[in-house]
């Protein structure tokens, strides 16, 4: 693991999920695509029940909104698919996530790097890598590792199972 803890800024991609602003570190992001046809995986966890074709590779498509306790939303003209490389058990796993909108790649200043507040967050604290400052606002930098590590076990977040 690199040690961005020592740096005061972090390079992130900012995205919208259900009107809320989140960020993903650019080191996890491989590419950003327009949404294409998806394939349903029957009996898979609801937040991870689709597959897409990324340049000849079959990649699972996750809906982070379900993982973060947000409502799903329809595909719009702004919807994008972000392909991530997530370190899971010493292995980089490729997974795509949906975003309602992708804003920009930028450096953000970090606040509360050492202690993520245990309250005041909508989602589980271990999904949060840190909190960054974006103008006058704060933005949650997500940590995809724990999110997808969770995805392999029974999902504790009440999701809409089919």
């Amino acid at each position: 693991m690199s040690t961005p803890e020592t740096a005061q800024t972090l390079r992130v991609v900012t995205i919208d999920l259900q009107g809320e602003r989140f960020a993903l570190e650019t080191r996890h992001v491989r590419e950003i695509l327009d949404p294409g046809p998806t394939t349903l995986v029957p009996n898979a966890p609801a937040f991870l029940d689709r597959l897409i074709n990324v340049r000849g590779r079959v990649v699972p498509l996750a809906d982070l909104r379900l993982k973060l306790g947000l409502a799903p939303s329809d595909t719009t003209i702004d919807t994008r698919v972000i392909v991530l490389e997530v370190p899971l058990e010493d292995e980089a796993v490729t997974v795509a996530v949906l975003a309602d909108k992708v804003h920009e790649v930028r450096e953000i200043a970090l606040v509360g790097m050492t202690q993520t507040p245990r309250f005041g967050l909508r989602c589980r604290p271990d999904y949060v890598r840190c909190i960054g400052q974006l103008g006058d606002d704060f933005v949650i930098v997500l940590d995809p590792g724990p999110i997808f590590a969770q995805g392999r076990a029974p999902d504790p977040v009440p999701a809409t199972h089919s």
């Binding site: 394939t39 995986v41 029957p42 898979a44 074709n53 899971l88 796993v93 995805g151």
Partner: protein
């Protein structure tokens, strides 16, 4: 990795040579005096020495030199390939492996002991002057040396520059070089590319014999080199290190180069990664081709159709060829176990005859590589638990029998490990399983089900734990690995007569022929090997709303599953359903689909780790239009269907 690292190539090559050496040595134990085996061992050593020196593995080259010498004596009939010599050579082989892989860890004392052993054998066995450096002359440096050098006639053509050799000698100390032109033929017969001149060098430096010999490291086998300590009256025969004279040496060396790799003909060494890449590309091509076929099929352009057909034929041929490149005979893998069995028998005090069948059976290289660990586990188990000690074997022959076999069966390869030992103790396995709560006491189990219990994690019936097996780790790893290869394990056992563990594996991991079907909105691929037939489901059967039902197929009842219900997808209004009859083992089940689209060449893409817990799908594939289709895993589906059937039977 841009250009292949020559040192890495050498390491790879030496691995193979060491394996070849080991095989030869193990065979030699049973067939002493088989010249072919001795030659094979010698050649392996010779090549390791040669290339070792070339790539800077001087320790390897120097060590090998001595071992090779001993085998040279054997080859010349001056020494017998006794079991001590073979044992010593095996130890030397292990030492070589260490020198090659982890030179830092090489144990100098062990190495010296091995060399001393060789020396003793050679000294004791060879009546004629030994071709080994006499330790006295080796250790103590002489005042100087009179060196007479005669290179092989074709030495220069082979790339040796005599001047450089002489310069190297000069570098050792003050040297007086005399050229001996006795053999130079008259000018009209002279071939300028041949080496006609011999040399006599008086080296006035106190250096060791080894130092002098090192100069000729590359050519020592094809030349005559005589070393006489300066000041000594007559050269004592023991101190003369005579490399094989050029004529007899030249003959066996030439075929050495040709037979270095076993299969005749040219071969190219290619990293496995490149083959994987090629396979990926071919996979993409096959996908693009099936897309082209769809486009051409919809068009009325005759020319386009002709080209599409041509490309179809070519790409299928290319696919088969590529798959052929990736397959290797399983004998490569089996060969590695001979040493394992040899060593285990020695450690366990058991007498076992290892028999191998179907070594020529070809299997995907990836599969072969991944089979190694499971087979090691299974062989250890067979030897440790299965086979009895000679005195316990009763009426059976004292010598146990371990059969490793492989054969093709349809699109599968069956690899089996069979021994004639005591057999699995059904009652004990059952008792242990009940103890651990794996089965209920009243549960009725078939033999097959009982034997499958040994693959449960942490399951062991061994009363004593040895350092080999009995800890209950291993068998579950075996099962996991085989399942990851889309294979299955069958166990059969007869008390007192032995156990047979058979691994059923797919021929390739890369491509399958599949039947493309539609269920609701989704498209799925059913492996064609599992498909028996497709039938139309009549309206009566369709009317039944139960999740599992029966189909009357020419008098036999077959349970069927409605895939849309299994998958939890909405029901298609399509009235006319089809049932695809699939089989796994001797069980059949019908899968009800909305539409059978057609056959489809499928490049298997494994599912993400994140979907590891999703059963029923063995992988995914990309269709002609770029969308993804899932490949059905038949075994869990059939099991699901059969379980339903049983439930219905008991309910009735």
């Amino acid at each position: 990795m841009a250009a292949p690292d020559p040192v890495e190539t050498f390491r790879h090559e030496s691995q193979e040579l060491l394996e070849q050496l080991e095989q030869a040595l193990l065979d030699l134990e049973h067939r002493q005096g088989d010249m072919e085996l001795i030659d094979s061992a010698f050649r392996a050593l010779h090549t390791i020495k040669g290339s070792g020196a070339m790539f800077g593995f001087d320790a390897v080259a120097a060590f090998t030199h001595h071992v090779e010498n001993a085998f040279d004596e054997v080859r010349k009939g001056k020494l017998v390939a006794s079991s001590e010599l073979v044992a010593l050579a095996l130890a030397a082989k292990d030492q070589l492996r260490i020198l090659l892989e982890r030179p830092a860890e090489a144990d100098a004392a062990a190495q010296a002991a091995i060399l001393a052993g060789f020396h003793a054998i050679v000294q004791g066995g060879a009546a004629a002057p030994a071709n080994v450096i006499a330790p006295a002359a080796d250790g103590a440096a002489a005042q100087g040396w009179r060196i007479s050098i005669r290179l092989a006639r074709n030495a220069m053509a082979m790339g040796t520059n005599p001047l450089l050799l002489l310069d190297e000698l000069r570098a050792l100390g003050p040297a007086r070089v005399t050229a001996l032109a006795d053999d130079v033929p008259p000018l009209e017969e002279l071939d300028p590319t041949d080496c006609h001149i011999a040399w006599q060098v008086e080296l006035g430096a106190p250096c060791t014999r080894a130092a002098v010999e090192e100069v000729f490291m590359f050519v020592i086998d094809e030349m005559t080199l005589e070393l006489t300590p300066l000041g000594a009256a007559a050269p004592p025969p023991e101190a003369t290190a005579t490399a094989p004279p050029p004529t007899p040496a030249a003959t066996p060396t030439a075929p050495t180069q040709a037979t270095k790799s076993a299969p005749p003909g040219d071969s190219v060494r290619v990293p496995a990664g490149k083959l994987d890449e090629l396979m990926d590309r071919v996979g993409e091509l096959v996908i693009a081709q099936s897309r082209l076929r769809q486009v051409a099929g919809a068009s009325h352009d005759v020319q386009l159709r002709a080209v599409a057909e041509e490309i179809e034929r070519l790409s299928l041929e290319l696919r088969d060829t590529t798959m052929g490149i990736r397959t290797v005979p399983i004998g490569q893998l089996f060969g590695r176990f001979r040493r394992l069995v040899h060593d285990l028998c020695r450690d366990l005090g058991k007498e076992v005859e290892l028999v191998m069948q179907g070594e020529e059976t070809e299997l995907d290289k990836t599969v072969i590589e991944r089979l190694n660990d499971p087979l090691v586990h299974l062989i250890r188990n067979a030897l440790d638990h299965g086979l009895e000690r000679p005195e316990e074997r009763g009426e059976k022959p004292r010598r146990g029998r371990l059969l490793l076999s492989a054969r093709h069966a349809g699109a599968q390869v069956r690899v089996s490990i069979r021994e004639d030992g005591r057999g699995l103790d059904r009652a004990r396995i059952r008792a242990r399983a009940e103890e651990r709560g794996l089965v209920a006491p009243e549960q009725v189990l078939t033999d097959q089900e009982v034997f499958q219990l040994i693959f449960e994690p942490g399951f062991s019936t061994a009363a004593t734990v040895t350092n080999l097996s009995g800890r209950g780790v291993g068998m579950d790893v075996v099962k996991r690995t085989i399942e990851a290869l889309r294979g299955s394990i069958e166990v059969s056992s007869t008390p007192g007569a032995g156990t047979d563990v058979t691994l059923c594996l797919p021929l390739t991991l890369a491509i399958i022929d599949g039947l493309l079907v539609r269920v609701g909105e989704g498209r799925y691929v059913i492996p064609l090997t599992a498909v028996e037939e497709c039938v139309e489901l009549d309206a009566d059967a369709e009317a039944g709303g139960a999740r599992c039902n029966f189909l009357n197929l020419r008098g036999s009842l077959i349970p069927f599953l409605r895939l849309n219900e299994v998958f939890g997808t909405p029901r298609d209004p399509e009235k006319l359903k089809k049932a695809v009859i699939v089989s796994a083992g001797d069980q059949r089940v019908g899968l009800v689909v909305d539409q059978v689209i057609g056959d489809h060449q499928t490049v298997i893409k494994s599912l993400s780790k994140l979907h590891a817990d999703v059963e029923m799908f063995s992988g995914a594939t990309i269709l002609g239009d770029g969308s993804v289709a899932l490949i059905l895993d038949i075994a869990p589906l059939v099991a699901f269907g059969q379980a339903h059937e049983e439930r219905l039977m008991t309910a009735a």
